[in-house]
Symmetry: C2
Subunit: 547 residues, 2 copies
Amino acid sequence: MITFDTEPGRYRHWKLGFDGPVATLILDVAEDGGIKPGYKLKLNSYDLGVDIELHDALNRIRFEHPEVKSVVLTSGKGRMFCAGANIYMLGQSSHAWKVNFCKFTNETRNGIEDSSRGGGLKFIAAVNGACAGGGYEVALACDEIVMIDDRSSTVSLPEVPLLGVLPGTGGLTRLIDKRKVRRDLADVFCTTAEGVRAERAKQWNLVDHAAPPARFASLVRERALALAAGSDRPQNAKGVLLPPLERTLDAEGYRYRWVDVRLDRARRTADITVSGPSEATPSDLPSILSAGARWWPLAMARELDDALLMLRTNETELGTILLKTRGSIAATLDSDAAMLAHCDNWFVRETIAYLRRTLARLDVSARSFFALIDRGSCFAGTLLEMALAADRSFMLALDEGDNEAPRLALSAANLGCLPMVNGLTRLEARFCGERAPVDAIAERAGEHWDAAEAMALGLVTFAPDALDWDDEIRLAVEERASLSPDALTGMEASLRFPGAETMETRIFARLSAWQNWIFNRPNAVGDKGALKLFGTGTKPSFTWERV
Amino acid sequence: MITFDTEPGRYRHWKLGFDGPVATLILDVAEDGGIKPGYKLKLNSYDLGVDIELHDALNRIRFEHPEVKSVVLTSGKGRMFCAGANIYMLGQSSHAWKVNFCKFTNETRNGIEDSSRGGGLKFIAAVNGACAGGGYEVALACDEIVMIDDRSSTVSLPEVPLLGVLPGTGGLTRLIDKRKVRRDLADVFCTTAEGVRAERAKQWNLVDHAAPPARFASLVRERALALAAGSDRPQNAKGVLLPPLERTLDAEGYRYRWVDVRLDRARRTADITVSGPSEATPSDLPSILSAGARWWPLAMARELDDALLMLRTNETELGTILLKTRGSIAATLDSDAAMLAHCDNWFVRETIAYLRRTLARLDVSARSFFALIDRGSCFAGTLLEMALAADRSFMLALDEGDNEAPRLALSAANLGCLPMVNGLTRLEARFCGERAPVDAIAERAGEHWDAAEAMALGLVTFAPDALDWDDEIRLAVEERASLSPDALTGMEASLRFPGAETMETRIFARLSAWQNWIFNRPNAVGDKGALKLFGTGTKPSFTWERV
């Protein structure tokens, strides 16, 4: 079983250092530290384990080090920044593993940009040696790229010529969308295995700055301080420590403080039940800060995020996830109100960002999500987002006035601070960008809607009564479980993201979808495919048909 | 060898009728008329041959019948509008055939919408019986859908539950982007094999109108006339006949009047050479109209379109296409000037639309395009678009003042009337949406740029001199030919479309890419896959892993 637990003291591949407003993340991969056996992580190449540490390190910086305003990513190896994802790992991995690994990698990089955009944290890639493939894709995720001009180091995206696959963790998209590299130059760059040295890299806007070895460190420092100067992260705030998650694992599932995951391998489902906050959730800033990682929004987000990652990685056959909540709508709305009242505080802002990234992870998870809005649920505000993220929602219809009737309620959190990666709120996406139904719902914020009202507002899919509830859910789940998992993945990836596209959605959809296709093609993964034969000395043998 | 030649007198599957401003296209598929042997086109299902006729019929309406303002698509079979793409054909087709077939189908449907948007031609689907899969996707491409409410006919997208693939020729995207169907209702609709009857279909906005059998025909007529009333197509104009293309086929390639295609199977390349117009190309409207299908812009567009389709379908292993032009820059610019001066005329407008769709077909062709701008070329205006559409361009650099030095020149055609399907001009796409370089080029319209100037303006990729030219081209072509064709397809599909996305690009990228992936997966096309086993009575056997 893969877990995503780690902490700086246990890192094998990254060194995290602090110097005033600048943090440094040094990639120094332990060759023998692969997360699975069978390959060596040579040349500062990475696998999922390396990415798990990066993901953790970013959260440490965000929460435990509020004084950090810019982050330098660099390498601890001489003349080698990063060779990208480990090819031998990719060559021997299953299709599902490759796709999942790439998705997590993408999410972590999108998270870097999310923090740059909304969290005042800026990133500099200090490319102090050869920078290839996924290595350059990490650099692309940073705000600025400073490259060493030692007359030999290159940046490159050699996936197409060397491996017969794409620079698929953001590379192609960031090249043209973020760095505005001209498409014909991008074409040349991406088909040139040996890459491009500093001078041309700067000319083509592949990097922002280049400096000879003697000036490199000072230029990096200069840029890091310049970017830090524009940050609104606090000067003297006390960090919030992220303790290990309280989680017990057993045969039935994962149990956290606020999140409970029950696995049903026979039905191929998992139930995720999220508990709303207790009545005592703090409303003033000092109490929120003193609660720290125990503050419900953050604690819940960390647990839900972990649960999604654990399910994705370890339970690939559980295709349908049933989302439930338990608790008090009033307390959930109170918690949202406190969170939004203090959203200018750095810690609250980071917590909202954590929630946003967690919900975004749900949106791109290749599982069917059904929200079950039943007795005792509290799909309100932040938790309503889970129902809106679901592919379908079922809400129990009880007689009017029945005290046990489940209700939905809106908070300001539904109207802007937790957008999907397409830049729309889940309400906007639900109504395909049409304003009228969103406005109609927003005008009635403050009401608690029962099933009939929620149906009328378009907030839920079905509203069975108590008599039909069990059968209707059972049938829907059984039917879903009978369908082709691949067709469902493709369908959900299409229907969840109407209209608007952003760089992130283009990475997940256009680029990842093509990469997934290529990851299935004999020219890449067949016995004579390029990815399979890399490093063996045998040249791949392609079928030449263009498709 | 598949050709795309046909004419109404030879149609086997469609009947084209005219009644004042309304044309009717009746789908009445000949079961035994499959374009390949091995399947029967039952239940008004279609294959490439049916789509080739539709493509032809649309062009006949556009050009030969300017009086037509709205088009009714309906079925000639009782109680069966259209069952969609023929499943047995899909089940026995190669991956490349499926993908190519879907692409052409998508292009034809996008063409329907292109004519609605820019050509004053409106479309009504008169759904007079069961309407499934691709049948409903055709209806989605129309401006309005009128459905018969006979208490049994349904609209459906049963691909996911019945076939383990997607409604991939626009279905999922048009559902949410064009018809704004709520994503959870779309989820239910796309997983319900039996579909939805008229009442619910109207409720969910799957159709616009429903009528009982007795009122159906009059409602369709009413809507057709209402849409026609809003059209700006001319009342009494004389149509322009589209004669068969003058084309000779031989072992070396295809020879048309203005387009010449040379195949080189050893190098796996094709040269497409387009001749610019003669000096005598007409400039006044009467001469343009009298030239009709012989008018260079239309004649060239029809030939180039045909050449691209022929290459795609018949020469799947020729991965690199070298684009050349021959002729006079001045004459090409004169022709553009005449075309744009009269762009309000219906025939000129339709010709521009034909050019636009042809260039758009080039943009989504899964081949590498290199433009070779050499002696005697005339990459100006409309023809410059070909160089801008190419993945790379090579321009011969001769000494300053050399009369034979090739030049590039802009016309107004480069600045708006031939946009890519992402809504950007090829110049805008080239510079990733940045205004400054586009404005700098537009300001210097009227100049004829040599290689050095074209390089400085960012219009070409490389400018080798006469000494290096042959070697540099040869090396580039050989190198390209050595790369994985799949990786190139995925890379080009990503790099050609920076930034902006539209419904069309989302269909080609997000939806098609996922469908291509699924078309490769054992759950669809393996021996126990759903697409393979459809109709055999044997249930598919899925691997349940979610990817």
